[in-house]
């Protein structure tokens, strides 16, 4: 037993923080789909509204988690290096532009182009927001499962895939299932799975807590089958014309839930600290020094 040295599950960020990554990713992805809808002339307002709700939900969960909620404005003080500040800053135009596009669309039906353009802008900001979120995790050097560079593409891909999923559900509900959405969903589903695999491979190859790797490994069947294989198959069928209005939303649910599940896994269950390790054991008197072990740590090549 190594008291205090084994990588420890972080308790600083709980489900509320995970919800921010869920809400932010899904919202940003959804916003992108809303924007594409607008360009291609499909209904988008509901998606944009939902996107706003997702992002807003995520951020309010964070607000509930911080120790000094009344000082929340201080979050904007460090744009030079803090991705959290940047996330906060980017959130502002995201909200404003998205809300504006919705208002324009609802209040001024004639100004649909302006609304769409505003939405395009909002979607681009949304991608920026998603990127900030991905960088937030990446910059957390205390948590190996987050600081792995390969998490960045996974976070991006997952956010978009979750957004796609929710979009497909909304489209199903609205009774208008765009084929491009099915196709893009399929692409994102594949992309996210590739990013997930790469993430796991890189994490293991670069060294990580054994317990983190075990959690991710244990989740693989769920992530593969209901998380990716099933929605991919459903999307293929839907694209082939088999009940797109039913299979599309079903695939969407699976895609979104899979993304959320992966985020809960990574933010909560696989989030272990670096632990402590010595490079060399000390020479006690005329004793000998050994290379240090890193308990609870998967060291590549061992």
């Amino acid at each position: 037993m190594n008291i205090g040295t084994v990588p420890k599950l972080q308790r600083s960020w709980d489900l509320r923080a995970a919800c921010n990554f869920i809400g932010g990713g899904t919202g940003a992805g959804l916003l992108l789909f809303a924007a594409v809808s607008a360009v291609l002339g499909w209904p988008w307002v509901a998606a944009a509204l939902a996107a706003l709700a997702f992002v807003g939900f995520g951020l309010s969960m964070v607000w509930l988690e911080i120790g000094k909620p009344l000082r929340a404005v201080n979050v904007f003080f460090h744009p030079q290096t803090s991705w959290m500040t940047r996330e906060g800053i980017v959130a502002l135009p995201l909200f404003v532009l998205t809300a504006l596009s919705i208002v324009l669309a609802l209040a001024l039906p004639d100004a649909d182009v302006l609304a769409a353009m505003t939405l395009e802008l909002a979607a681009m900001v949304g991608l920026g927001f998603l990127y900030c979120q991905a960088r937030i995790l990446r910059a957390a050097r205390g948590i190996r499962a987050w600081s792995e560079p390969a998490l960045l593409p996974l976070t991006l891909a997952s956010g978009l895939a979750e957004g796609a999923g929710v979009y497909l559900v909304l489209a199903g509900a609205l009774g208008a299932m765009p084929p491009w959405a099915l196709a893009l969903g399929l692409v994102l589903c594949g992309a996210r799975y590739a990013a997930w695999r790469r993430y796991r491979t890189r994490l293991s190859a670069n060294g990580a807590p054994v317990a983190s790797l075990a959690v991710l490994h244990g989740a693989e069947p769920l992530v593969v089958w209901p998380g990716h294989a099933v929605p991919a198959a459903l999307l293929v069928l839907a694209l082939a014309g088999v009940l797109p209005g039913v299979l599309g939303p079903l695939a969407g649910i699976a895609m979104a839930v899979a993304g959320w599940y992966v985020k809960v896994l990574i933010v909560l269950r696989a989030a272990r600290s670096n632990g402590f390790a010595v490079v060399r054991t000390p020479v006690r008197g005329r004793g000998i020094s050994k290379a240090g072990d890193r308990y609870g740590w998967h060291v590549p090549g061992r």
Binding site: M1, N2, I3, G4, R284, G285, R286, G287, I288
Partner: protein, 915 residues
């Protein structure tokens, strides 16, 4: 923002929570509230530069613990027992003291001892004499009272290094033994956990030694903190250390050239040349009765102190005329008898203990034993000298230290003898770099072990054993543990009772062996800074015994498992609240070696909380109310509280007839102490001490070593041959058998002139059988270990200690070897049950690599059920499952913290919790 302090002061005081102290420190006090402990940076004379160990930092919480008893309390529930709520209610000091004095005065009127001669008042204090540093002038009250039974132990004999206390002091005035760490180069440490229990001074010295390049080989079943800080760990089977040590001697005597040993030391400073006769006793000069040695110069046997003799160290010689003095008055007169030197007797005896033999016993490769022996001799620097304080002394930088459990119970005699012999063979006993004693407790004067060396019989130091001759043997015990009756070597000093077989006092209350009268319960039992219901073995039985004590007075900090049975609780001013002056410096156990000596003051850094009162005030009140004021004052004047108040060059005596305030008493003590150390030149009072904290004068480095005194007095260490122990054992056997006592026969076998190996581990298996168990059902050895946070601290109720203790793996669970755990399906953190024949204890599994596969370790002494905070911890305890057993008691009255147990995983929800 934090409250801004209006006044901040730094109050110098001491910490003596464990025997490794006292250490000096300061208390930061903000507006009357003690807020922090800091080292005393001004105390340059302190060997650890005024630093204190982790325990001292808990004193802030200790002071402000909301669970403290802060007013005297009286028990309202006449029934006593673990399940009986005592129903303590607050009373006034006057009521409390009157109630106690009433009982005491009744005792005085009835008789201080009962019909059997046992004191009617008993007192139990905590570990290692340290409570005396907190009990103010209570010792003067105890002295004034008369006979008091100190034999109800709180762990003595089983939780200390008991055998070392007795044999160490006997052989080299070493109540405790340590390495001369500042000079030594090679230490073989058998389970000594000095990095945990050696205090600030030892930790610093050993850290320096490591940087200097010492090699310490730690021989123990588990990788303790000290093992960790050693150069090498040798995992040995529990209780087989003696075999390892005997094999080391075998290598020195049978496998290396004789001239690698310190032959002059053996010849001149030990009894090695004494001739041993056919009956196993020294051949003596028929006229003078002095032991004979063979003079190579004249080719004749001559008395050991014959000037100019050239003693033969080895060989067999025919002596024309000699006598042997056997037990009692047995005399054998020999003409032409052959005598072999004691050294030769040892060489022959040790022939059987080869490293290969030891491997079979200890499960340590013979090559390791051989290598360690070789390294020891290699490092001994035989022939080299060193200058200390202008004196040229032998330089022998090798030492062997023994830890608790190695040093207790069966097998400890062999270990103590072999360790001391290993030092003796290379002349490393009591010389720079070697194996040293630090202090004495059985001989006087306590504060000067060199001055305690007086010539005794046969060229050895005087040692006062309890009489074993027919006329003087104490057939009737004077205390409930029968130390005078059963343990000659423990003597009869003020410490002897509390060192005796203290578990016998508890055991005999329940049942006595054949021919032994059942002792009475003492009319009044005092408790101070101790919790034997947790700190001794078979705690269930201990509690039952305590519940039968008719009147128990406990100086109580919080409720605990022992004072749960009390009739009166008295809240005394604790560490940071009371006043007291104690001696510091010189050489003290565990390994405090100072270049100074003097006194240090404990003073009220803060006012006592609640209605807690200074111990000196309490002692004075008790004296007054018992009509003992004059005797109490006289005891103070004699030095019962710290130093004599009157000396050759000073007189600060108190008026024996008057009442004196706490301040007046300690003012006189302060002045007398300074005067005593300066020949009357200085006499600082209490106010000076409150500012400065301590007063010291230089202490010569050369006085760390006993060797120069032995040379100056022409004395020999009573080694290797234990003629006296042999004789005493025979006499004791005769006395006991004459009294019809046969239940101590096993212990009598330990009285041998040269150790023999008896299968020590087997005794624990036999004990399982004797208690109705099947040894195969208890395949594991359970041992215990210490952590610095708790060792001897009586601080289980301090949350800070638990919090920081949790950073150390030894704390709070059951350590089990990783491979063993895997086999049993136990993973780290699982709840497990450890079961002995008598009881079971539960705790969390701590899975480790640094532990033998057949051994489990439980830290410290827990399993509290009454002590606030501690009772919530849910920690296991060896004490719960260790039996109080005569079979496992050695001849010194000691037992070891070892139990044969089983272990199983507790699966929640399953019937009976069994896996």
């Amino acid at each position: 923002m934090r409250t801004r302090a209006e006044s901040v002061t730094s109050v110098p005081t001491y910490c003596y929570n464990c025997v490794a102290g006292p250490d000096l420190m300061t208390v930061t006090v903000e507006d009357g509230v003690a807020t922090a402990i800091r080292p005393n940076f001004d105390a340059k004379e302190h060997p650890a530069n005024g630093r204190v160990c982790v325990k001292a930092y808990g004193l802030i919480e200790k002071t402000y613990n909301p669970h403290r008893i802060l007013t005297p309390m009286r028990r309202t529930n006449p029934n006593k027992g673990r399940g009986e709520d005592p129903g303590f209610v607050p009373i006034t000091w006057d009521e409390a003291l009157e109630a106690i004095a009433g009982r005491l005065n009744h005792v005085r009127a009835t008789g201080l001892v009962d019909e059997a001669g046992l004191p009617r008042v008993a007192a139990t204090f905590g570990h290692g004499g340290t409570p005396a540093a907190y009990m103010g002038t209570l010792p003067a009250w105890l002295a004034a009272w008369g006979p008091i039974d100190f034999s109800f132990g709180s762990g003595q004999g089983v939780k200390c290094v008991h055998s070392e206390h007795l044999y160490g002091e006997y052989w080299h005035r070493a109540f405790t033994v340590c390495a001369d760490t500042v000079l030594t180069r090679y230490v073989i440490s058998f389970g000594t956990n000095v990095e945990v229990s050696g205090g600030a001074c030892a930790v610093y010295r050993h850290a320096d030694a490591r940087i200097r390049g010492i090699k310490r080989v730690q021989v123990e079943p588990h990788l303790s903190v000290t093992g960790a800080a050693s150069a090498e760990w040798v995992p040995i089977k529990p209780k087989t250390d003696g075999a390892f040590l005997l094999a080391l001697i075998h290598v020195l005597l049978h496998e290396i050239p004789r001239d690698r040993l310190d032959l002059p030391f053996l010849r001149d400073r030990t009894a090695s040349p004494y001739l041993v006769g056919p009956n196993g006793y020294y051949l003596r000069d028929p006229d003078s009765g002095k032991p004979l040695l063979w003079d190579l110069g004249t080719g004749a046997a001559v008395p050991h102190d014959t000037p100019g003799a050239d003693p033969a160290l080895e060989g067999r010689f025919t002596v024309p005329h000699a006598v042997e003095h056997g037990p009692d008055e047995t005399r054998w007169e020999h003409r032409g008898a052959e005598g072999r030197t004691a050294f030769t007797a040892m060489v022959e005896q040790m022939a059987q203990f080869s490293p290969e033999w030891a491997e079979g016993v200890c499960e340590v490769p013979a090559s390791t034993v051989r290598r360690v022996a070789g390294e020891y001799v290699e490092n001994a620097c035989v022939g080299q000298t060193i200058d200390i304080d202008g004196q040229t002394l032998p330089f022998r930088p090798v030492a062997i230290t023994l830890g608790k459990t190695v040093n207790n119970g069966w097998g400890a005699y062999e270990c103590c003898w072999a360790r001391t012999m290993m030092a003796t063979l290379v002349g490393a006993l009591e010389v720079p770099g070697g194996t040293l004693g630090t202090t004495i407790r059985l001989n006087r004067p306590h504060e000067n072990r060199l001055a305690s060396v007086k010539p005794g019989a046969d060229g050895f130091m005087e040692s006062k054993f309890n009489a074993t001759d027919a006329e003087h043997w104490a057939a009737k015990p004077t205390g409930r543990n029968a130390h005078k009756t059963l343990v000659p070597i423990v003597g009869n000093s003020s410490w002897s009772q509390a060192l005796g077989p203290t578990h016998l006092a508890w055991m005999f209350l329940r049942a006595t062996p054949d021919g032994w009268p059942k002792p009475s319960y003492p009319d009044v039992w005092f408790l101070f800074r101790t919790n034997p219901a947790i700190s001794f073995w078979d705690t269930r039985q201990m509690v039952e015994n305590m519940a039968r004590m008719p009147f128990v007075v406990a100086f109580a900090y919080t409720l605990d498992e022992t004072n749960w049975m009390a009739d009166i609780l008295l809240p005394d001013a604790t560490d940071l609240e009371g006043t007291q002056l104690i001696r510091v410096g010189g050489t003290k156990f565990v390994e405090q070696h100072w270049h100074h000596q003097g006194v240090a003051l404990r003073q009220p850094a803060v006012a006592p909380r609640g209605d807690a009162r200074d111990m000196t005030w309490i002692a004075g009140e008790l004296a007054k109310r018992c009509g003992l004021l004059e005797d109490y004052n006289k005891a103070l004047n004699r030095g019962a509280a710290c130093v004599p108040l009157k000396g050759e060059a000073y007189d600060f005596s108190l008026d024996p007839k008057a009442e004196h305030s706490v301040e007046a008493i300690w003012d006189a003590e302060c002045k007398a102490a300074c005067a005593a150390f300066t020949g009357g030149a200085e006499a600082h009072g209490l106010d000076w001490f409150k500012e400065h904290g301590y007063f010291v004068v230089p202490f010569k480095r050369v006085d760390w070593y006993l060797y120069p005194t032995m040379v100056a007095k022409g004395l020999r260490f009573e080694l290797p041959y234990q003629e006296r122990l042999l004789r005493v054992g025979k006499e004791l056997g005769t006395r006991l058998h004459d009294a019809g006592i046969r239940w101590w026969d096993d212990q009598l076998h330990e009285y041998t002139a040269l150790p023999e190996w008896h299968d020590v581990p087997q005794r624990w298996e036999n004990a399982v059988k004797a208690m109705g168990g099947e040894p195969a059902d208890y395949p594991f050895w359970l041992i215990t270990t210490k952590t610095m946070q708790y060792t001897t601290g009586n601080n289980a109720g301090i949350p800070l200690m638990n919090e920081v203790g949790r950073n150390v793996r030894d704390h709070g669970g059951v350590q089990i070897n990783a491979a063993t755990a895997a086999k049993l399906g136990i993973i780290d953190g699982d709840m497990v049950e450890v079961r002995s024949v008598t009881n079971a204890t539960r705790g969390k599994a701590i899975v480790v690599q640094g532990l033998r596969p057949d051994t489990l370790v439980i830290h410290g002494q827990f399993d509290h059920w009454a002590t606030p905070f501690a009772k919530e911890l849910g920690f296991p305890s060896l004490n719960t499952v260790a039996p109080l057993s005569l079979d496992l008691t050695d001849s010194t009255g000691s037992g070891a913290d070892v139990v044969k147990v089983s272990i199983r995983k507790i699966v929640p929800g399953m019937a009976g919790g069994a896996a």
